[in-house]
């Protein structure tokens, strides 16, 4: 699993590639929560390269979403693959997270 960062105006975009299982979730947590904790106003996770995620990774995403919301900061996801979207639907997280079909749509929102 690797994560690359890009800035688009006010938004920090983190592009995630690979698989996030319970082992990778630890690194994922540190990487994603750092900008949250340093006060990033808008964070976008581009999951176009994510092929698999389990509950450990979902927990990190939920934590980031809650923490951003508590600070009135933005947090969104985009480019979910079908198999990843299924996991978000089953868990009910699709209802409570800001999910966009593309990076462009997410940045325009």
């Amino acid at each position: 699993m690797d994560i690359t960062e890009e800035r688009h105006g006010q938004t920090l975009v983190m592009a995630v590639n690979g698989r996030i299982d319970a082992l990778a979730a630890k690194t994922f947590e540190t990487t994603v929560l750092t900008p949250v904790q340093t006060g990033e106003a808008a964070l976008l996770l581009d999951l176009g390269g994510l092929t698999y995620i389990s509950s450990a990774g979902l927990r990190v995403i939920l934590l980031a979403a809650k923490q951003q919301k508590a600070k009135d900061a933005k947090f969104a996801l985009c480019n979910l693959r079908d198999e990843v979207r299924d996991v978000f639907e089953i868990s009910g997280f699709a209802k409570i997270l800001d999910i966009h079909p593309s990076r462009e749509a997410a940045l325009a929102a």
Partner: protein
């Protein structure tokens, strides 16, 4: 990894979280051997990981409660059996942890607002949603979870 009989794979893995890295290869090899659809393999991978992580995390003595206990022991066993009979896949996981019936857990409230949600119970929720049947039995000093899934035509 040892092949016991046609269609059945037995993997005896020590109870260490790093071992979950070996699971996808097991599932993908089984899938390739039987020409199973990718979506089914993704489901099996997820179910297996969630159950093994639960067992390794909760099924043994808590190192925080008992600092002398070595939670990285390699003499535990978690046996995984994947079998295909026609269009039915059976997945069985057996471990020697303390008695724990995952089917007895409450479902998370997937309609709750974000403030009320946590990630607890999600692993078991995935197992129940993705597999057609889930059955728990305590056999001697082992937990045995048997699950089935129909291969979609």
């Amino acid at each position: 990894m040892k092949k016991r009989q046609d269609g059945e794979l037995v993997l005896r893995i020590p109870g260490d979280l790093s071992e979950i890295a070996r699971l996808p290869e097991l599932v993908d090899n089984f899938g390739a051997r039987h020409g199973l659809p990718a979506k089914l393999l993704t489901s099996l991978n997820l179910v297996l990981e969630e159950l093994v992580v639960n067992t390794v995390s909760y099924g043994y003595e808590d190192p925080a409660a008992d600092p002398g206990a070595d939670s990285g022991r390699d003499d535990r066993s978690i046996e995984i059996r994947l079998r295909r009979d026609g269009d039915l896949i059976t997945l069985q996981i057996e471990d020697d942890g303390k008695a724990f019936d995952p089917t007895a857990l409450d479902e998370p409230d997937t309609d709750a607002a974000i403030e009320e949600r946590d990630a607890g119970g999600l692993g078991i929720h995935f197992v129940r949603t993705l597999m057609d049947t889930v059955e728990y039995r305590r056999v001697g000093d082992r937990n045995r979870l048997t699950m089935t899934k129909q291969i979609d035509p």
